[in-house]
């Protein structure tokens, strides 16, 4: 496989001159070239290109990968539940190298300054075009794993229009969805009707008659072989997100129906069967072990980026990261209706190295123009790195929780454990774009309510089980709900209902009382009719008033059983 060798070559070119905190961006341009980032030894004739979980990030961002990403039960210690140095060692990636920066949190701020931002849909377009040019249009398939249309300010204001307009230039062959559905059924139908390529979702049925809402599969002929693409939406959309936004659609893993689609694909003469999935990594790993006949699972949702495919029996599971940081290229050698060999490269999209595609850059500028004034407003400055991703509180979440505690006069704050949200480097200005990149969504109301200590424990237990249930099929793929004003201990290996203990109100240092009512503020409630100001207004006001935020690594959550 070319992957590892190429990484090592890259590392060799760069490791000798490890960057310090104040290296210029030129460093990345000098030590890396676009050709090096894209190069791989081709295998067979067919290439499948995968992008996923872009979360509407049209322009390059910083995104710190998690330091804590725990797996429980059978997947404990397996990828993607390996982070930092351990992950680098596993794949023989040199610390401090570009790929190390792309894949891990180690020394994030310093390396981010050296290597610059990642992603940007205009850079992604350049990568996709280069692969199409090298392999041939007729031999290349581009698949979008979903979470494409939401979670930036422009995508919220245009209700996904900006992303649909830009993705149209990339010409995907199919996509699936999750956050797309938070635009509501009507808007999703409207956008889907003018996509010009299939929006797949074999696991979505209408609640009245249990009939399919979207196609389960599309059959595409490329490189002289028939490729069946089976689409799987995020199975727990109406549970993790507001059900009232998609009231007549029912989801679920529906394993038996995936198996039926695979059989259907083979019966129709498919040489290659691809599952374009938004299940999440652990769910897909289990599914691949139980449903025979899938050649490739293009996984998504849990935002994992892995430099090599994970083999589950004969199935290749590909994890392509998030926020436009990576483009996956999978080459397949197919003959006699069988995959005989493969080559894979997780291409890191270093935005200072990969040239922007002019047509895409122009369209991005066009869709952003009406919002530039809002996006570029400087709210304040941060002394430390602001990030979200990780199983427990990130520093950006701490700022959000602090905003809720102070501006809604609450004792306790709850903030959702979303895995999206870009990072802001230490010393940098915080713009409205930075705040909305961590908060833009269609149910942002910041509520203020009371909850008993017992109820709070129940909420934490419930979310913890969504993350740490030993059976992946019961996991929803988000991170733990973030808390402000309280501390707690969690035993991730304990059963449902007994993971959480030592709930403490930090202001007093006293244990939470089961019967007492506490004033709680939170956002992203899945309940219809939730009232309150949108979270970004609250956070923006908080940062404007503070001028400078000084996030620290908090130690409010004590983790055991990992």
């Amino acid at each position: 496989m070319p992957t590892r060798r190429d990484f090592l070559q890259m590392a060799a070119a760069t490791a000798a001159i490890l960057p310090t905190a104040h290296w210029s961006r030129a460093f990345a341009q000098q030590s890396l070239t676009q050709d090096e980032l894209l190069a791989m030894d081709p295998v067979g004739r067919l290439s499948i290109v995968h992008v996923t979980d872009i979360h509407a990030q049209l322009v390059p961002i910083h995104f710190r990968e998690p330091s804590t990403n725990l797996g429980v039960a059978e997947v404990k210690g397996l990828v993607p539940h390996v982070t930092g140095r351990a992950l680098l060692d596993m794949y023989a990636i040199a610390p401090g190298s570009p790929m190390a920066h792309a894949l891990t949190y180690d020394d994030f701020a310093a390396l981010a300054r050296a290597y610059g931002r990642m992603g940007g849909l205009d850079r992604v377009a350049t990568v996709v075009d280069a692969i199409r040019a090298e392999r041939g249009e007729g031999n290349t398939l581009l698949l979008d794993g979903g979470d494409t249309w939401q979670n930036s300010w422009t995508s919220l204001q245009t209700r996904g229009e900006d992303m649909v307009a830009c993705m149209a230039l990339l010409r995907p062959d199919a996509m699936v969805g999750h956050w797309e559905f938070t635009l509501g059924e009507e808007r999703v139908n409207e956008l889907v009707s003018r996509l010009g390529f299939p929006f797949l979702g074999g696991n979505i049925r209408d609640t009245d008659w249990d009939e399919p809402v979207f196609d389960a599969m599309t059959m595409v002929e490329r490189a002289g072989v028939k490729v069946a693409v089976i689409g799987q939406a995020f199975p727990y959309t109406p549970i993790a997100n507001p059900r009232w936004m998609m009231p007549s659609w029912s989801f679920g893993i529906r394993e038996a129906e995936v198996a039926a689609s695979v059989e259907d694909a083979r019966a129709q003469g498919a040489d290659v069967v691809v599952l374009l999935s938004h299940n999440g990594f652990d769910v897909d790993r289990k599914l691949a072990s139980r449903v025979p006949g899938i050649d490739v699972v293009l996984t998504a949702h849990t935002h994992d980026a892995l430099p090599e495919p994970v083999m589950v029996g004969k199935t290749l599971v590909i994890a392509s990261g998030s926020h436009g940081k990576f483009v996956s290229r999978l080459d397949l050698d197919v003959s006699g209706g069988e995959v005989k060999g493969f080559g894979y490269r997780l291409i890191p999209v270093f935005s200072d190295v990969i040239a922007p595609d002019p047509a895409m850059a122009a369209r991005i500028a066009e869709v952003r123009a009406p919002y530039e004034a809002t996006l570029s407003e400087v709210l304040g400055r941060t002394e430390g790195l602001l990030y979200r991703r990780g199983n427990f509180n990130g520093t950006f979440d701490d700022v959000i929780c602090e905003a809720m505690l102070t501006r809604r006069d609450a004792e306790i704050a709850l903030s959702p454990g979303f895995r999206w949200g870009a990072s802001v480097l230490p010393g940098a200005e915080i713009t409205m774009e930075d705040v909305t990149n961590a908060t833009a969504m269609t149910y942002p109301e910041t509520y203020r309510t009371t909850m008993t200590g017992a109820r709070l424990k129940e909420v934490l237990e419930d979310v913890a089980d969504n993350l740490f249930n030993p059976d992946p099929y019961y996991q929803q793929g988000g991170d733990m709900v973030r808390v402000g004003g309280i501390a707690y201990a969690i035993d991730v290996s304990a059963p449902m209902g007994s993971r959480i203990s030592d709930l403490t109100l930090m202001r007093t240092g006293e244990a939470l009382e089961a019967e007492r009512e506490y004033v709680v503020s939170g956002w992203a409630s899945v309940n219809e009719g939730t009232q309150g100001p949108p979270i970004w207004d609250l956070v923006a006001a908080h940062i404007r008033e503070a001028g400078t935020v000084a996030p620290r690594e908090t130690e409010t959550v004590r983790v055991t059983g990992a």
Binding site: N241, G252, F418, V459, V463, S498, V526
Partner: protein, 154 residues
Amino acid sequence: MNLVLNRRQALLAGVGAVAAASGMAGASAPALAAAEDAAATILEFTGGAEPTMGRVTLDVPEIAENGNTVPMDVWVDSPMTADDYVAEVLVVADGNPRPGVATFHFSPLSGRAQANTRIRLAGTQNVIAVAKMSDGSVFMDKKEVKVTIGGCGG
């Protein structure tokens, strides 16, 4: 003084004693009572026989989108001939205040032993389907359905 307890009261009393004796934490007395009740309902249905896992396929979601109306499908592998058919299928939810959900009756003329409906689940619990064959043998399938209190997935 009335000393006659009904079955539910007797079970509740028994469970209370067990929980107290073993110092069990986590499972509440009513939940245990429901599970005991479900077990008793199944044994009543089978005439005391322990059902064997297999032949029954119970299809329910892993996590309910709405605990008030959870889709459920049950199918039993059987030739459905005059000599060999599925007579009845009992469905119980072992965490509901009243665990008995439905009993479906079949005959060889049914052609296929399959039924579906929507059920209400009070919380996370097991749904159990038990099939009684024409020869009196009993088979079952069991699935846990989680009912959550609101999500933060993403």
